[in-house]
């Protein structure tokens, strides 16, 4: 029983990290119709930057701040500088943002070298709590709490604020929304920044769970984010959470009980959803 509980908690914490990465991508895809394949690279950027700052200052909060702002700004540069003119031109978006993966990865190779970076875990969050026979790291519990709070915050933003209403309207019908006299541009810029910043945050906070950050992370986390969007549905925060938790928990449970399947769970989930419910579990039509 303890084994199951420990695995479940591992899966939930992993799922929360996946949620934090994917929700930004989902938001951007849903609201702006933009496929930003460099989203995973922003996770990597936030992680490298945040960990470097945290390690040199000894301050985790500063590190998170650096990672969040760094990723947010990078996202903005990509959007304002390059993606702006490519609304609804999906092929060009894919080519452009895929190119950005290589650019960002190579920049990191220049700056940080080819070696992986170990995560930074603040003093407060080191150590583990016993769960029956097993130990569960405190920083994983912290990630779960932070993830839930973020999810609630985003949900409140989406459902209970005017900005959120505009975002939802823009996702459903951008032309109509602009037609009603609402200026979508600052909202979409804000959403792009927020989505990218969330990826950066996931990078700093999530790296302790993933063990380390390396140059492969850009593509790896992109795959994860896309899988979550497929499973949970695009444009929905609840969907991103459900999809992410499903993938995280199934991966963790498979790793415990059926290790040979563990790496495939993400793809099995994706395949099942595409067959049974192509728009995702809670997706808006994309």
């Amino acid at each position: 029983m303890d084994l199951f509980v420990a695995s479940l908690l591992s899966g939930i914490s992993l799922g929360i990290v996946y949620f934090l990465v994917a929700t930004g991508l989902s938001l951007i895809m849903g609201l702006m119709g933009i496929i930003n394949l460099a989203h995973g690279a922003l996770f990597m950027l936030g992680a490298y930057l945040g960990i470097t700052v945290a390690k040199s200052t000894g301050n985790f909060i500063l590190g998170i701040f650096a990672g969040v702002i760094g990723a947010g700004i990078a996202g903005l540069v990509i959007e304002r500088g390059f993606l702006r003119g490519l609304y609804k031109r999906y092929l060009e978006q894919i080519l452009l943002t895929f190119g950005f993966i290589y650019i960002i990865t190579n920049l990191h190779l220049w700056i940080y070298g080819p070696w992986a970076k170990a995560p930074f875990v603040p003093e407060l969050l080191t150590g583990s709590v016993p769960i029956g026979e097993f130990y569960f790291p405190i920083h994983r519990l912290a990630v779960i709490i932070v993830g839930v709070v973020t999810c609630l915050g985003l949900w409140w933003l989406q459902e209970k604020t005017k900005v959120g209403a505009i975002v939802r309207a823009g996702m459903d019908d951008a032309e109509m929304t602009t037609g009603l006299g609402i200026n979508l541009t600052p909202i979409t810029i804000g959403a792009f920044f927020l989505g990218s910043a969330l990826a950066g945050f996931a990078g700093v906070a999530g790296t302790p769970l993933l063990g380390q950050i390396n140059l492969e992370a850009g593509l790896k986390m992109l795959l994860v984010a896309l899988a979550v969007c497929v499973v949970g549905g695009v444009g929905s925060i609840q969907g991103a959470l459900v999809g992410a938790l499903l993938i995280g928990i199934s991966t963790a449970l498979a790793a415990t009980y059926l290790p040979v399947l563990a790496m495939f769970m993400m793809y099995i989930a994706m395949a099942l959803i595409l067959v049974l419910r192509p728009s995702g579990l809670m997706g808006r039509k994309f």
């Binding site: 080819p114 130990y135 415990t256 290790p259």
Partner: protein, 401 residues
Amino acid sequence: MKSKMLLVLAVLALVASTAVFGACKAAPVEEEPIKIGGLFEMTGFLVSLGTESYQAVTVALEEVDYQVAGRRIEFIWEDTASDVAVCMDKLRKIVETDKVHVVFGTVFTGSNYAIVPYVDKMGVPNINVTAHPEDCVLAGDWDWQIMGTGSQMTYAMGLYAYEELGYRTATTIATDYEAGYAYMGGFTQGFTDSGGKIIQQQWYPFGTADFSPYIIKAGDADVLATWMVGDALIPSLTQFKELGVWEKMPIIGASCAGLLDPRILQEAGAAVEGYITESHYTHVIDAPGNKEFVEAYEERWDLLPGNYAGSSYAAMQILLEALRISGGDASPQALASALDSVSIDTIRGHISFNEARLGQTSAYIVRIDREGGINIPRVIARYSVSSKLVGDKLVFSSVRQ
């Protein structure tokens, strides 16, 4: 009119003489250089290992000024991106287009399985800097494994765990592929040959970042023996510490893979304190020429050399010695017999080859100490490791030095 004619003649004469002199200068044809082809994982998940290897080879070649036995050396190297298909493309390029005399490198076992039959077919010597599994290595004739097979090296660790550390039961976690089976296999063989018992073996797939399921399921034994490669090193060791494994039982490594790469060793932080493992090389080894190599490497690359750097330099020492023995003759048969006859003290100890072209050498048992926040490797034992082909099986023997 006359002066114009004179001018034209003068110009023509000048041009003609330049052509003649130019041709004269180019006349002596330069002797064809010895072409050493290198394959390195400069990107992908084995990037730190491949980069180290490349850096060490550069140090070795620069030391001899790219010359041996009176001939120039041309070093042609490619990035395999830690991918078998890319590696094979690059291999074909350096062998068939660049016409290299000898192939050097790749640390990735997966790639090596593909390289061995190819170099056999093409009749080009292949020097391996790390210890690959038996079935890979014995499949072909044109490979010189400077450290024998993976299992040959870790056999000593199995002996040490039983004889010196006093463990009687062990549970293991290793990467689920051929190199994992080989390295862990050597350890379990050494351990069980001594009288120990392996109570459980777990294998994790490539790309695993979360080791908690394996840690949670690890049985109660005297020791946990591990073999992790590449990007699994830091996460696994960190998680072993976090999840309280050290409180239950000590952790040792069948072999250290890339852990003793100085950058990775420091990145791993406090998680590796007290870890004992076999290592093919570490910069603190007391062997002839090692201190000088470490200084030269540090000066050139501003880093201490790790496992793969040391092994690659030792492999270059062997290759250069072979070329000296053959008098600079890099043709396949001459180079092959020269390599077979090499028996020298390298920076990681004495190396010679047995009839299966497997290196007969030493394995080092290393402990990671932590002082003042820095991880320091310490050699605590040395074993001679040798193998003999009996029929089609390899039999190992290992003696504490």
